[in-house]
């Protein structure tokens, strides 16, 4: 991995644990642990010990992985990417080629560009090729463009409440899909709304604090950049409901770039898009699609592999671009770091 890439990703990591170990130093520790490819955070404490003990392979009762993709924008056809269906297909092929099979896929919204039935159909068709058959969705604002999101709800609203929120459990981890793109108010950002917040409070009540929780929603649930609407006005209340849990992971999309933040036991992560990149906050006149040279496009689109380890009760989040190829020695594809470039 180039120095340039290191620096770029370092800038995106918004929080350090104030323990004197910066990201590069942390990864060197991980290389010592025998991985170098997967970094895991559990309350800010590196879980390299878990890896050394349990070995690299999953299948150790309860360990599992899933993949997050986001912002496929089927129907978009402008210069930033004239064929978003093809890049989605590349992403699906990449998921199918992962050495360990993900249990399911989560799509964090903006499935389509204009909420058209034909766009949803094309997406369905492409996803049929994924070997992971279970796919969970939450809508983005582009999926709500037809009469309050009727088309989206008609297809994906089964067993959901309100504008499409829901929760489910998988191997001891509690997943909550939230909708923060409905009933948006002038001048505001994303919004969860009173009904959904009330439901969320009830949904989490009584669950053991040792249950790992994953929240997923389209717009970031932390304030990334308010000028561009990159945040959720009432997310503080939602986050107050998960404060007591030992491990919380928040997965979002919308901004078409990876950004991460850790606040106590809550890890926030936004995914790349499978369609087109957007500029870093404040680096362009607006948040619109960012054109890159055609041969660079695959490097700014990607998927996110999330691994849950029972031993650490933690989730390891690894982003890889469509340009990264899975190598036989790597566990999750290229991940953030190539093993041979990190020396102990």
């Amino acid at each position: 991995m180039t120095e340039q890439n290191h620096d770029r990703i370092d800038q995106k990591l918004q929080d350090l644990n104030n323990d004197g170990v910066d990201r590069r130093g942390f990864l060197k520790c991980m290389a010592w642990a025998g991985t170098g490819l997967v970094w895991t955070l559990s309350g800010g404490i590196p879980v390299s010990r878990a890896f050394a003990k349990g070995g690299k392979s999953s299948g150790k009762g309860g360990d599992f992985s899933f993949v997050q993709i986001s912002d496929s924008h089927i129907g978009f056809n402008k210069p930033a990417n004239p064929d978003v269906t093809a890049t989605l297909q590349t992403a699906i092929n990449k998921i199918n080629a992962l050495p360990h099979k993900p249990d399911f896929i989560i799509h964090t919204g903006d499935l389509t560009q204009l909420s058209k039935p034909s766009e949803f159909d094309t997406l369905d068709q492409a996803l049929k090729g994924a070997t992971a058959k279970q796919i969970y969705f939450v809508p983005g604002e582009h999926d709500m463009l037809s009469d309050n999101g009727d088309e989206y709800l008609h297809r994906f609203g089964k067993d959901t409440k309100g504008c499409g929120w829901y929760s489910f459990d998988h191997k001891g981890v509690h997943f909550v899909g939230l909708v923060n793109v409905a009933n948006l108010k002038a001048g505001g950002m994303g919004s969860l709304g009173h009904d959904q917040l009330e439901w969320l409070e009830g949904d989490l009540k009584g669950r053991s604090a040792s249950t790992p929780v994953v929240l997923f929603a389209h717009i970031p649930l932390w304030t990334v950049y308010p000028d561009w609407g990159w945040g959720t006005d009432d997310s503080e209340q939602a986050l107050s409901y998960v404060k007591r849990f030992g491990s919380v992971t928040v997965l979002n999309g919308h901004i078409h770039q990876v950004m991460q933040k850790i606040e106590g036991k809550v890890s926030f992560h936004t995914a790349m898009s499978t369609a087109f990149p957007q500029p870093a906050p404040g680096t362009a006149p607006s948040a619109g699609p960012m054109k890159v040279p055609a041969d660079q496009l695959q490097r700014v689109l990607g998927i996110t592999d999330v691994n849950y380890l029972v031993s650490g009760r933690s989730l390891a989040v690894v982003d890889s671009t469509l340009a990264d190829s899975a190598s036989p020695t790597s566990r999750n594809g290229a991940g953030l770091v190539e093993a041979d470039s990190v020396s102990a």
Partner: protein, 119 residues
Amino acid sequence: MKRNKVWIAGFTAALATAVILLVAGSSSARANDQPAGANAEVKIDNFVFGPQTITVRVGTTVTWTNKDDIPHTVVSTEGVFKSKVRDTDETFSYTFDKAGTYPYFCSVHPKMTGKVVVQ
């Protein structure tokens, strides 16, 4: 005799002036009283309504044109008008028949706000 001619000339000049003023006056009255097909434009570019505040006369038709690569909407915060989603180069028009202030926003990107002032 001479006095009569001077008087007639003066009267005619006054009359002509009065007619000119009356015609000039009535054309501005026409724009105020009837929807005379006046048009105004707002361009949507880089997630901004430009001009953000536009002031027009009663009866003006305002046309929004989306120049972005991303779809937008034009939605009155008071429920007065609401466009369908507008993709690149698509337009939305609304004729303002009543004086007043009409704040609006893009329901897809709610940080985008604008105002039409109708006088």
